[in-house]
């Protein structure tokens, strides 16, 4: 089945330290990958996407993600975490349905807690 996995339910990091939120994918063909963030009582906000090109993708709020084809991973990173980065993070991959339409398949989410 085409899917994404976020192996960590929660990641804890101290403010100012680098952070990594992990995502691995399983799709046929070239993957289209996305990261979204969800703050409390809000919808999801787009952070960045990988479609093709450079393996290091830069996004909003200082986040970046590294695409690694051999490891089928798309980890989200930030060099220096802020307390305000505390939120729920979702990885997603675009998949082709049997009907020919495309949809996003989301991971189960990783809660990031940044301590002061």
């Amino acid at each position: 089945a085409q899917s994404v996995a976020q192996p960590e339910d929660q990641v804890n990091v101290a403010e100012g330290n680098p952070l990594t939120v992990k995502c691995t994918y399983s799709v046929s063909g070239n993957p289209y990958l996305f990261w979204y963030v969800q703050y409390p009582n809000r919808g999801l906000q787009f952070l960045l996407k990988y479609i093709t090109g450079d393996n290091l993708v830069k996004g909003s709020y200082g986040f970046e993600a590294e695409f690694n084809k051999s490891q089928t991973s798309f980890h989200l990173k930030k060099p220096s975490a802020l307390v305000s980065d505390s939120a729920l993070y979702f990885c997603a991959v675009r998949v082709l349905m049997n009907t020919g339409f495309q949809k996003l398949v989301f991971g189960t989410g990783t809660r990031l807690l940044v301590s002061p």
């Binding site: 996305f34 979204y36 787009f46 339409f101 996003l104 991971g107």
Partner: protein, 112 residues
């Protein structure tokens, strides 16, 4: 800036009621989506629409229907609400599948 507006933030209904959740987008997007979000399960696609009056089933369409009479509005209908439909419901839209989806703030629905 794209705005996706869901008509209610919180909603409480009774088992067996017919429930309508409304979503409006202001960017002339072709595609609109309804998801439900449950802890530990992430987001699951219920239905989506790629054009006015067109709809496609997602992964969990049972117990739901949708309506898209105008391009900017996409409604989710719970035909006969049940307690297992208590959840957070998120609406989203985009112009095409290469573009990111823009989400509303969600409707937290409780079925008693």
């Amino acid at each position: 800036d794209v705005k996706v507006t869901q008509s209610s933030r919180y909603l409480v209904k009774r088992t067996g009621e017919k429930v309508f959740l409304e979503c409006v987008q202001d960017m002339d997007h072709e595609n609109m989506f309804w998801y439900r979000q449950d802890p530990g399960l992430g987001l699951r696609l219920i239905y989506f629409s790629y054009d006015v009056k067109m709809k496609e089933k997602g992964d969990i369409p049972e117990g739901y229907s949708v309506s898209r009479e105008k391009k900017e509005r996409f409604s989710l209908i719970l035909e006969s609400a049940s307690t297992n439909q208590t959840s957070m419901y998120l609406c989203a839209s985009n112009m095409d599948s290469n573009q990111p989806q823009h989400f509303g703030d969600g409707t937290r629905l409780s079925i008693l």
